[in-house]
């Protein structure tokens, strides 16, 4: 048996043998401005696009109880000032684009622009860091927009809802059970004073990170930084995230309705956070379980006998906690108990049996490919670097993942699986179609 394993490992090593790739961001560095803003400068003369993104340490995880959704509200307010409008217009007229995002861990604003627009991009980010005027009328208008927007957010999809439910039940000490947009009740409760306080605590230069990626000269960029974001007054020393209330033990078996036509089974397991040494292993476990027609769950559940229609899932890694989750939609009439048993058995088998060399190789190539292709463009590289800095605490973790993935062995995956894929760390959620509406027909 030992010989077989050794040969398998050797075969795997020979098959992988990837050429060493050099990190195109190897020359990146972090500078801290006097106001506390950390700036990750990743000059890349070969790039053709400049990306300047500001990352704030704000998201569901930092929202106080009863104020869920406040980060999203601030994100909207920061785009509403006349100066931001003016700067955005100027930048867009030069071919630049802007994006905003709020996740459970971070809130960010990115600018993608031609190489010549560094100064304009920094001026726009400076304008965004100014405290927005907050009136009751403005808040009311944002509330209405958020309410209208909420059903269309990924949060509201069956998958988004399920992931929140699973986090809620499996990681109750975090706030990841909350939607990024909060609840109508909490958002309705927000007063201008709450927004002002939260802005000052979370949206200042201290605690934020600015990533600059693309074709620029580092010395020139540092001069421009001093004239722009460097002049934003120092504020925002984020305190630790507020402790989430831990209520009575909650059921780990749930049922809900959704407007999706088919019943969907979601099963999640408590998993480590993004910065964990096991994060790369969980990434591969998620892939080999759920990615593509070759995935374990696709082969096990999408059979005429069990009636699986599609499979999805993966490792959702966040700053404070993680979740390995799987989902299968089943045809009407499928034996749901049998499907659930088969899914759980297939996943938890990972903790008792090593994965095969082929499976590991496939998952590894998929992960490598995703990472390397994303590394091409300035915007996606900035996303990887910024997320690694904010969520993992170290921007090196983005490229470092490649190395980790390449070195993982079947035994390491099994060890990681055994640490988490247990019945006492598992929650089950069935989402069934809500009868009656046209959702069943259209």
């Amino acid at each position: 048996m030992k010989t077989v394993v050794c040969l398998a490992v050797l075969a795997l090593a020979l098959r992988v043998a990837p050429a060493a790739a050099q990190d195109p961001s190897a020359t990146a560095k972090v500078v801290t401005l006097p106001n506390g803003l950390r700036v990750l400068l990743a000059p890349d003369p070969a790039a053709t696009v400049l990306d300047v993104t500001i990352w704030f340490d704000a998201g569901s995880r930092t929202e106080p109880e009863g104020r869920r959704g406040i980060t999203n509200v601030i994100q909207r307010l920061l785009s509403r000032t006349p100066e931001v409008d003016r700067q955005t217009l100027a930048l867009e007229s030069r071919g630049g684009t802007t994006r905003t995002f709020t996740t459970p861990d971070v809130c960010g604003f990115s600018v993608t622009a031609p190489a010549s627009a560094l100064q304009a991009a920094l001026e726009l980010q400076t304008a965004r860091m100014a405290e927005p005027p907050v009136s009751a009328e403005l808040l009311a208008s944002e509330r209405a927009s958020i309410r209208e927007d909420r059903p269309r957010r990924p949060d509201a999809s069956p998958n988004g809802r399920a992931v929140r439910r699973l986090f809620d039940r499996l990681q109750p000490e975090t706030a990841y059970g909350s939607a990024v947009t909060g609840t109508d009740e909490d958002v309705a409760r927000l007063a201008p004073k709450d927004c002002e306080e939260y802005f000052r605590a979370r949206f200042g230069p201290t605690g934020a990170v600015l990533t600059v990626v693309g074709p620029f000269d580092a010395a020139e960029a540092e001069r421009a930084l001093a004239q722009t974001v460097g002049r934003v007054p120092k504020h925002g020393a984020p305190s630790a995230r507020p402790a989430a209330k831990r209520g009575a033990a909650m059921a780990l078996r749930l049922r809900e309705s959704s407007d999706f036509q088919l019943p969907i089974l979601f099963v999640g397991w408590r998993a480590p956070s993004a910065a964990s040494a096991d994060a790369a292993a969980f990434d591969l476990l998620g892939r080999l379980l759920t990615t593509g027609v070759s995935a374990r769950l696709a082969r096990a559940l999408m059979t005429p006998e069990l009636g699986g229609v599609f499979v999805q899932g993966g490792y959702d890694s966040r700053r404070d906690a993680g979740l390995l989750y799987t989902a299968v939609a089943v045809a009407p009439g499928a034996d749901t108990a049998k499907v659930e048993k088969a899914l759980i058995s297939e996943v938890e088998r990972l903790s008792t049996e090593p994965v095969t060399a082929d499976e590991l190789d496939r998952a590894r190539r998929q992960a490598e490919s995703n990472l390397l292709f994303a590394w091409q463009s300035s915007w996606s590289r900035a996303q990887a670097l910024g997320a690694a800095q904010m969520v993992n605490g170290d921007w090196h973790a983005a490229w470092g993942r490649l190395d980790q993935i390449r070195k993982l062995t079947p035994e390491q995956l099994q060890r990681a699986a055994a640490s988490a894929l247990r019945p006492d760390a598992r929650a089950v959620l069935w989402m069934t179609p809500a009868p009656g509406t046209e959702g069943g027909m259209r």
């Binding site: 309410r147 190539r365 009868p435 009656g436």
Partner: protein, 700 residues
Amino acid sequence: MKSLALAALLIAAAPLCAVAAPAHPAPASGTTPSPFAPPVQRTLPNGLTVMVFPNHRLPIVQVQLLVPGGAADTPTDVAGVASMVASGLKQGTPSREAVDIAREAENMGATITSVVNRDYTSVGATFLSRDFDAGLELLADVVLRPSFPLDAVDRLRRETIGTVIQNLDNPVTAADDELWALALPGSPYGLPVSGTLETVPSLGQAQMRQFYRDRYRPDRSLIAVAGDVDPDRTIAAIGDAFESWSGRTSAAPAGSAPSPSPGMRIRIVDRPELTRCEIRVGLAGPARGSEDDLPITLANWVLGGSAASRLARATGGTAHSEFTALRSGGLLAVSAAARVDSTPAMTRSILSELKRFTEQPPTEDELTAARRTFVDVYPMAFDNLAGVAIQALAMSFYGLPADFSARYAERLGAITGATAGTAIRRWCDPSRAAVLVIGPAARLKSQFEALGAVEVLPAGGTIAGPPPTADEQKRGRELVQLAVVAHGGRAKLESIKSTTVTSDVQLGLGESALHGDMIQIRVEPERMVLMTKVQGQSNRQVLDGNRTWTEIADDSSSSHEGDSIAVARMRSTFNSDIPHLLVNALGANALVASRGRDRLGDKDVDRVDITVPGSSRRRFLLDAQTHRILALEEPGRSGVGFGARRTYEDYRQVDGLWWPFHEERTVDGVRVIAYDVKSVEINGSVPVAVFQRSPPVTPH
């Protein structure tokens, strides 16, 4: 998002150049060439042109194949076939089934994707460079030897119909597609890329194979490889993999090239439920690479291509314009959205800005700013290997002259206010514009008649198929009248003020089906409560005029207010019971058409199509003997023309009305739900409390 689209358009429309923009520093690494470096290029004996862009920065490869078969290369009666062929490539070859292709790609972490536009099809593949040989072999197999298996063709047809329906339902995509048809009549560019509801249902393996034989030939195809590869070895590998590819591309079907219209055309596609209208103003434009291409591209930036453009300033940032130049013509499209009452004024503003554009062409200052932006933005299209490959293929496909790139900046500089003005007067005359609005025709028509003759089409417009003939409409109305009488008569149906229906509900089939109860309460006008209890979980959906919300009784955090889409969906549900279906079909604004006889089970049925404003197209299947509704068909979620069906049985008389006590719903042939009615109460008392948001109140 809008600006992103504009930047993408600018990049796509900008002629390709090999000169680095001034602001772009030279690469420092010896292994990373300038993204504008010319390729190593060869033409294989079978005519396939190969371009290689070596770039060893990352161990990855992008392969991009261009085939001269776009949506405009299909005869009009098979519109949509190019999309189905492109999607069908991965569905099987003589040596691999679809699942084998997917597994092999997954094993390599590779992707193979295809995109169809009006001029060509592009097949892209990504691999780790260590998998290049295996990846190329897989790509060649799917491109050279697709078998288009029948089961996959059936699925692709359903999916394509689904796409067509989604595009028609979405006001933005519907407006974009309809504008091409209105602004370029008679041109093959007028048909939507995904086809129409008239053409796609009849597409099959034969049409797909024919299109593949005609257009997927090497003589005019191009392949570009960018990434961590050796050029000579790559060309040799492509030579081996594509050696067996042979034949010549057939001529494209004849069609008139887009040209300026003789006069203004105004069309309203009637969507009474919309509170915001989609507005489009379109003008035929010059072909890619023609004399006027670059002047109009540059001028469009001044007109409406940027956030500080003339149109943006004139309309408070609402309107913008895009110019798409294709092989045999182009389209200059101005887009805006406005509230219904502002729509006529917004349209007038756009037309008046177009008029000013012809009278006061761009100034030298405006052109200088546009030129500077183009030079700055141009390199952004080369942000990744796919961008490098796609740009090279497009330049070669459109036959831009060899010195075009080298002289790009010079050509931009040669466009003066006078030359731009000449091109603008030739192509941008608003009196020849196509004006399209998607919105409520009843509120808009009279105001638009001040501009000229207005054509009003039901939702779906021309691209959903030709309107029914007068005879079909007449027979349809007769059949609806018979159905109304068969269910109790018009007076009885119109006297209904409320209904309360309780039912047993069964979700799915067999032993594992879920069982529950349901109460449906409808109160005129447009108030409804649907309460379901399935396996212990209660769900309550409420429509109250223009509001809707959902509550899950055991989980208050799931309660949420519905948006306008949810309101429209609930209104559609409100109007989907038998009395509303019949009364609405009698309405003056309902488009009704007989579609002939058919069989349903052992009965003859009359098919009648009903399009009521604010609702999707529906089809009654009426018992030819009793004239009662035996089934109702609607577009299914997954797309078969009328893929969703409700069948009605066990009709019983309730207060003089005939009501079905058993109903089953199927989607694409799969039963999803069944109702067995326990009681029907007409015009009974309904407590006001049932419409209150919380706490939920059970009326019985």
